[in-house]
Amino acid sequence: MIPALVSVILQIIIILALSPLISGIIKKIKAYFQIRKGPSIFQPYYDIAKLLRKDSVVSQNVSWIFHAAPIISFAAVLTAGLLIPIYITSLPLGFAGDLIAVVYLFALARFFTALASLDAGSSFGGMGASREMFVAAMVEPALMLSIFAVALNVGSTNLSYISQTLSGMGLDALSPYQILAFVALLIIAIAETGRIPVDNPSTHLELTMIHEAMILEYSGKQLAIVELGAMAKQLLIFSLIANIFFPWGIASAYSGIAALVFALFVYILKIVIIAITMAVIETSTAKWRLFRLPDLLSISLMFSFLALVSFIIVKGG
């Protein structure tokens, strides 16, 4: 009971502590590619600390949804965080949900953020909500097919079991269907974390923003929660990719402090590499027009479908 509780609290602390750092690293690397010095990688921490000290200015049109949404969304993301293996596959609460449940918890978080954006009655909010849900709808079929490809390969949608099995397979885990599913999920991760070419996280131009348009009415402490929630979601999506496709080095159960520290170190390394990849993709592409996005996500859909078909072919139906 006590070790389980410690493990859960530790996982929450790691998620909350790491997620601003990952955002900071991505920003720093983007700055490097743009031949700028860029802010320190710890800037997101300072931003959140600053926002937490400020008052929240609230629109006069809003209802309780606007106040409740950041809390509900954040809670949904953290709950998902307890279902995803981070550095250790033995999750005390892993029985509570699988990969599909994680996807739906993220959907719950998105749903409330979008509702809140409509609450203030601004056209930016409506535009953001409409586009966010549109992108989410386009992502969903590809996401489900890649989940199927992975789940068929391992025989389960339980995330701990997936990581455990694949890390036990050694380099055999690098099968063609895994690689194809990885490419599909990478495209999905770009869309889900709101990065270029789908969305531009650093814009406030009304015609191009999606996520930023949704949270335009938030300020101060509420904005701090919204921002931290978005960063935590980004970290969790990176963790999903890391531990489904590159599970090596993850600890399987509690086996001494040294082993855990090593596993944690490997995890951070993997996440930083994914963050660098994302930064490279972001700087090397331009933002796509909203109505060209179905093409991008069809590519992802095709990759996930190929992953599935190649699994069926390789494993001989």
């Binding site: 049109n61 509570a96 949900g97 699988d98 509702l115 709808a137 509420q222």
Partner: protein, 675 residues
């Protein structure tokens, strides 16, 4: 014996409701209370009755000992489950109705509505319990005709009369196919009793079985609203009074699903796997097309009707998968898929009933069902808003609400297709899952639009501005459904063993497997599990912590200011996003399906620079209606014109026709054709 009392007590109370409505039809208020409350009591008896059948023995009762036609009731666990679904819905909807019909006081005849309402429910219960094909067809027809009268209750509106016409035509086409399907069974078994149909199904030739399958699928599929037989549904459900729409969408179309399960599994033994693929494909198509039309709809009740098509599709995906597994000799997987389908069926009857009642409340207090004219209702009707939000979250399949559980189970049963070890089913089931995922996301899009545009921000019109909270009976009715939506989401492990008993009655008993353990739903022989209580508890803890932290660091009152409008000093409802704009991205994405047409009409004053008026109109096409039905309708009309020549209007001619027909029939009998 007590079962007899319960069963016939239920009938008596529905009949009391119907007759008291007729007798008291001059006294609106009294009439509404007696007729709807007596339906509610009957529903309570129905709930007790069906639960005791599910946990006890099958119930049967013979009405007559005639040798040729034996009328009787036969209720096994499957029928009992549907009586349970009917009764739960009727209980909540009846309480809601006592409040809702106040809208009609002094304007419409309440006695007429109360009478039809009770008879409609009674006919649905009869359909679920009939043990004889002839009796079944009589009560089925009764259900169709009574529901037609309910659809045209507001018959002074021309669009309602059109809706009723489309409904009655489609439903009779369906009944025609049902009769043909039943006659195939009768031809083999020599009896009209359903008990003998299962025996007949075993001895029939494969070709006859296939024909019976197709006819039953078309016949009952019409009632269920499967694409492409769905066209009546988006007309009829919005036209009916909202409490009746809640029952039609929530329950009546499920009765067709009940008969589909009965014909496919019990009568035909689900022996061909291609039947399963057909059902799965039709289910997938209904799900995606239903939700695609729902997304761009701005009439709330029409949107809900399209969404019913979607949900029937999701239920059929489960049933199709179950049939595929069953034909392949995998009873455990088949049970799981069937449980997913039945769970979604139960959930849909509840959250769709809730949303239709919510639409009724909106209509009641704003007199409009157009989302574009609403807005800000969360402040005017706060209690209804919370109840509708629960329905919205359930139908969007968000955890931990009920829709999530059944969609999760459906995904898991599709995923289990890899146990079949064949390429074709694996690919088909995966594609179906991908489309189901898209459907789920679009459902969230659709209902986010409904709640976000309809309930949040500022009221867009006077209608919405003067909205008032619904009255108490309406809130109680919706509250029952809202709490059930939550309970079915949090406690699936109590529901699944019940569903397992029900599926056992048509798939077979499974002794060695359990689908649920303490507080968790687990897929047999795998590591997959789901525990909504744990998810809910975690979310609750996190929300409490966050709320506490925010409360501690936020002692001051929050400053209130205008919504950001690019520095413009006014923020009015005209700045808000509209429902049409909200769904525009989806409309552009699927423009080859919608074939949107727009019309812009500008009139100028004397100067071409000054516009006097500006009219914008945007329409989408109903592809199936336009390209599948209209040519058939045109053809029938042209042929009918030709056939008009024999309609002389002279009574001698008609007597001649009758005589001629009789002569031909006599010749047929004498020549040796069997009667």
């Amino acid at each position: 014996m007590s079962m007899n009392y319960l069963f016939f007590g239920m009938f008596v109370f529905y009949l009391v409701g119907a007759t008291s409505a007729v007798i008291l039809n001059k006294k609106d208020r009294l009439c509404s209370y007696t007729s709807f409350m007596s339906a509610a009591i009957a529903a309570l008896l129905g709930i007790i009755f069906s639960i005791s059948v599910i946990f006890g023995d099958t119930f049967s009762y013979d009405l007559s000992g005639g040798s040729y036609l034996k009328f009787g009731f036969f209720i096994d666990r499957l029928s009992a489950f549907f009586i349970l679904v009917i009764s739960i819905s009727v209980l909540a909807v009846s309480i809601y109705s006592t409040g809702y019909v106040r809208e009609y006081f002094g304007k419409k005849n309440i006695g007429y509505l109360g009478f039809l309402y009770n008879i409609f429910i009674l006919s649905m219960v009869f359909v679920a319990s009939a043990d004889n094909a002839v009796m079944f067809l009589i009560v089925w027809e009764l259900m169709s005709v009574v529901s037609y009268f309910l659809v045209v209750y507001e018959h002074e509106k021309p669009e309602t009369r059109k809706a009723g016409f489309i409904y009655i035509v489609m439903t009779h086409i369906g009944t025609g196919f049902i009769i043909m399907s039943f006659l195939i069974f009768v031809g083999t078994s020599g009896s009209y009793s359903f008990g003998t149909f299962a025996e007949a199904g075993k001895t029939m030739t494969p070709l006859l079985k296939d024909i019976a399958f197709i006819f039953a699928l078309i016949g009952f599929g019409t009632k269920a609203g499967i694409v492409p037989l769905h066209i009546w549904l988006p007309y009829a459900h919005p036209a009916a009074p909202s409490n009746v729409s809640a029952l039609m969408s929530g329950v009546m179309i499920k009765i067709a699903i009940f008969m589909l399960i009965r014909v496919f599994f019990v009568f035909l033994g689900a022996s061909q796997s291609w039947w399963g693929y057909v059902v799965l494909a039709l289910g997938t198509m209904s799900a995606i097309l239903g939700i695609l039309y729902a997304v761009v709809e701005s009439d709330i009740k029409r949107m809900l009707a399209f969404s019913s098509i979607e949900n029937i599709g999701i239920i059929l995906i489960g049933i199709g998968a179950s049939m595929i597994f069953f034909a392949d000799g995998k009873p455990i997987l088949s049970t799981l898929a069937a449980m997913a389908a039945l769970y979604h069926l139960l959930n849909h009857s509840i959250f769709k009933g809730l949303l239709f009642m919510g639409a009724g409340s909106i209509l009641f207090s704003t007199h409009t069902k157009n989302i574009e004219e609403l807005g800000g209702l969360i402040k005017k009707m706060p209690k209804s808003a919370i109840l509708v939000l629960i329905g919205v979250l359930s139908i969007s399949a968000l955890p931990p609400f009920s829709g999530f559980i059944s969609e999760w189970l459906t995904f898991q049963s599709l995923l289990l297709g890899f146990n079949l070890k064949e390429t074709f089913p694996m690919i088909i089931l995966s594609i179906s899952a991908a489309i189901l995922a898209l459907t789920g996301a679009l459902a969230a899009f659709c209902f986010l639009k409904f709640f976000g545009i309809g309930f949040l921000a500022l009221p867009r019109t006077k209608h919405a501005e003067h909205a008032k909270e619904s009255n108490t009976p309406m809130l109680i009715g919706m509250g029952i459904f809202a709490s059930l939506s939550i309970l079915l989401g949090i406690f699936p492990f109590y529901v699944l063993p019940i569903l397992e008993r029900i599926t056992a009655s048509f798939i077979g008993n499974l002794d060695s497997f359990t689908f649920s353990s303490f507080a968790t739903v687990a897929i047999p022989s795998s590591t997959i599990s789901l525990s909504t209580p744990a998810i809910l508890a975690l979310m609750f803890i996190f929300m409490l912590l966050l709320f506490g932290i925010l409360f501690l660091i936020n002692r001051k009152k929050q400053p209130v200011y205008e919504t950001w409008g690019c520095g413009q000093p006014v923020s009015t409802s005209r700045n808000e996003y509209t429902a049409t704009a909200f769904s525009k991205p989806v409309q552009i994405w699927f423009k080859s399906l919608y074939r949107p047409a727009r019309e812009i009409d500008v009139t100028y004053t004397t100067s071409p620079l000054l516009k006097e008026s500006f009219k914008f109109e945007s329409r989408i096409e109903q592809v199936i209606e336009q390209y599948l039905y209209e040519p058939v309708v045109d053809f029938v009309i042209i042929r009918s014109r030709k056939a008009r020549r024999i309609q002389t209007g002279s009574i001698h001619a008609y007597l001649g026709y009758i005589f001629g027909t009789l002569v031909i029939l006599f010749m047929f009998v004498i020549a040796g054709g069997s009667p």
